[in-house]
Amino acid sequence: MNDTRLKGLIISQSSVFFASSLIFPYYILFIKNVGSSFAQFGLSYGLFGLSSALLHPVIGRFSPLIDHRLFLVVNAWGMASVLLLFPHVGSISQVYAIQLLLGMFGAFQKHGEKIMIAEFTDGAERGMKIGNYHFWTSIFSAVAIMAGGYLADYFTIHFIFYMSSALYFGSGLVVMRINSNKSILVKKDKGYEMSTEK
């Protein structure tokens, strides 16, 4: 059971890493076009980290009450939506706002990913499985970075934003298919396994 769920996690997070690596290097170029000084550049990245940091304790507090898949779904669908804004960003203040959102969604992803790995693995096999998880997600990142360059060259930078958005959305769908251990959110739904509640 855990193996199928881990597989679902690997697939969904591999596409998340694929999608984020697809845009990441080009997103920097994009910010560079909008901002015009190192200070603005630094500030926008700082805001990303800051919003992420501030959200972590909050997420942590609510974590026991929520279906853990929700973290990954919020990240996936949130990112899918924010990416659709990229082609319309025209000022540095909009970049700051987007960086805040990205930081927040990033926090959801980090928390969800770690907590679910912990849920799906235990004992002696845990190390191997985490290795496996990181192998696949990193492979997808690497391939995406290379592919992103060609795509941006041959199509447009906007095209990779849209493509990445679609991938994020798909990742959210995959997460929804992972059977949950905890089922606070869908407790009333008889179709779900309740027995695995820790």
């Binding site: 909008v34 082609p87 319309h88 060259d153 869908v186 179709g191």
Partner: protein, 479 residues
């Protein structure tokens, strides 16, 4: 069940976001660094001002005069040699000054503000069954910009754009607004048309229109040695032929030998224009963009690109198309965003009868050099004596070369050397080069190509002694 509903709602929401995002035009980033589509010389300008009212445009000029600032005039900035900006200048972005002021269906004239694009005019006149006489093959440019470069297009009967301009008003450096035409202020008419924004701000323009027509497209494959004769016999002497466009291969397997030509001949039945006069929208350009992208990087892809293009146009043989639609050719797939390289243009005019010899010599130069040449189109321009900087004093073929080049100094130097060699070949055959592109030609080449350029620059100083209207083109070539 509940889960399915949530999923369906989320998917529907997401899909509507996607549609919204795709349809909303993307924001243009504006800062005080300015360049044109050539991207070769980004510089800091003092300010970009986009005015919509004549009084504000006048104020900009007056203020520039008071503060002794230079002014550059910009439309869609598709000139590539710094014609639309200058360092620390005030850039007058004319694209907001874009209304239709007057339209006379009977006389077939339209008066427009100069920042209007050809597309806007087409949208306006198409429903009245009228068409533009002469413009570029694409419709994205402003009227003012097109006049400043005296553009030409696929039409083979009318000459260059100047022949269709009845008159315009010009805001000069001293703040006056004379009406300029062949009868009034004639000298300014021939200076400012093809004057690269150096004689003042072209304000409103009266253009001569014509009836929209229905054409039948015929496309044939030719060897370049047959082209001059073919063109004279089958195109120029064929009164039904109104427009023409040819392409010569830049693919390694058929480099500068294979051609295909497309003629637009008046369709025999008059009736069905109404069935074809809906203005075409830009179609999905992904495939052509991808093919062009591959061709930038790989020689084999150039061969494939050429074959695909050829098949595509041969397949369109016999298709009917309205004049307005011929004049709104696809351009989006040519847009190219990259950090280190860019696609730039060159255009050479060569007398019709010299074409074969010219291509042979051009091939010699290009085979010896490394130039990433992506495409060449060939059109025809009539003899046109009027403008001081006229590029066509006899019947000429106009070759537009699309070149991918690096933006680094070294790459630019390399391209510059090849461009100068190509211009030498062009001049040897009695040809000329076109001015809106990179400032690679030498002053000497400019003088040889445009024998009246000295007069042009003298008049510039006479009309604008403070050199209020300035751009990099002027700085580079003024005597």
């Amino acid at each position: 069940m509940k889960k399915l509903i949530v999923l369906a709602i989320c998917t529907a929401l997401y899909t509507s976001f996607v549609i919204f995002s795709l349809h909303k035009p993307s924001s243009v980033v504006s800062d005080d660094h300015m360049t044109d589509v050539g991207k070769l010389m980004p510089v800091k300008v003092k300010q970009v001002v986009k005015e919509t009212e004549l009084t504000s445009i006048k104020e900009v000029i007056e203020e520039a005069k008071r503060e002794d600032l230079k002014v550059s005039i910009a439309g869609k900035r598709h000139s590539m040699g710094g014609h639309t900006y200058y360092h620390d200048s005030v850039v007058l972005d004319m694209t907001g000054y874009n209304k239709v002021l007057d339209f006379d269906k009977e006389k077939k004239t339209i008066t427009v503000q100069s920042g209007i694009t050809w597309d806007d005019i087409q949208q306006y006149i198409n429903k009245h069954g009228l068409a533009i006489q002469v413009m570029q093959s694409q419709n994205i440019f402003t009227v003012g910009g097109s006049i400043s470069v005296n553009a030409h297009g696929r039409d083979i009967r009318k000459g260059s754009l100047i022949s269709t301009v009845n008159s315009f008003r010009l805001l000069t450096a001293d703040g006056e607004i004379p009406t300029v035409s062949r009868k009034q202020n004639e000298e300014l008419f021939y200076l400012a048309l093809g004057g690269y924004g150096l004689f003042g701000v072209i304000l409103d323009v009266e253009l001569q229109l014509m009836d929209d027509e229905l054409y039948e497209m015929t496309t044939e494959k030719l060897d370049y040695t047959e082209y001059s004769d073919y063109f004279r016999e089958k195109v120029l002497d064929n009164q039904q032929a109104k427009m023409h466009l040819a392409r010569i291969s830049t693919a390694p397997d058929s480099f500068l030998t294979e051609m295909y030509v497309t003629n637009y001949e008046l369709a025999s039945e008059e009736g069905p224009l109404q069935e074809h006069d809906e203005l075409r929208k830009e179609r999905m350009t992904g495939i052509s963009k991808f093919a062009l992208g591959m061709a930038r990087n790989f020689d084999w892809a150039k061969d494939v690109f050429w074959e695909i293009q050829k098949q595509y146009f041969l397949k369109a043989n016999g298709d009917l198309i309205s004049r307005n639609n011929v004049m709104r050719s696809e351009s989006k797939f040519l847009e190219y965003e990259a950090e280190n390289d860019n696609d730039v243009l060159q255009e050479y005019f060569v007398p019709v009868d010299k074409f074969t010899d010219y291509i042979d010599d051009l091939r010699d130069v290009l085979t010896a050099e490394e130039l990433n040449l992506l495409n060449i189109t060939v059109r025809y321009v009539n003899h046109e004596e009027g403008p001081v900087l006229s590029y066509s004093d006899e019947e000429m073929f106009a070759l537009v070369l699309l070149i991918n080049q690096g933006l680094s100094k070294k790459e630019q130097k390399k391209t510059g050397e090849i461009v100068r060699k190509m211009i030498d070949v062009t001049l040897t055959h009695g040809g000329r080069y076109y001015l809106p592109y990179m400032p690679y030609p030498t002053k000497e080449q400019m003088k040889r190509t445009y024998p009246r350029s000295e007069e042009f620059f003298e008049k510039k100083k006479q009309y604008d002694p403070d050199e209020r209207f300035t751009n990099f083109f002027y700085e580079e070539y003024k005597q």
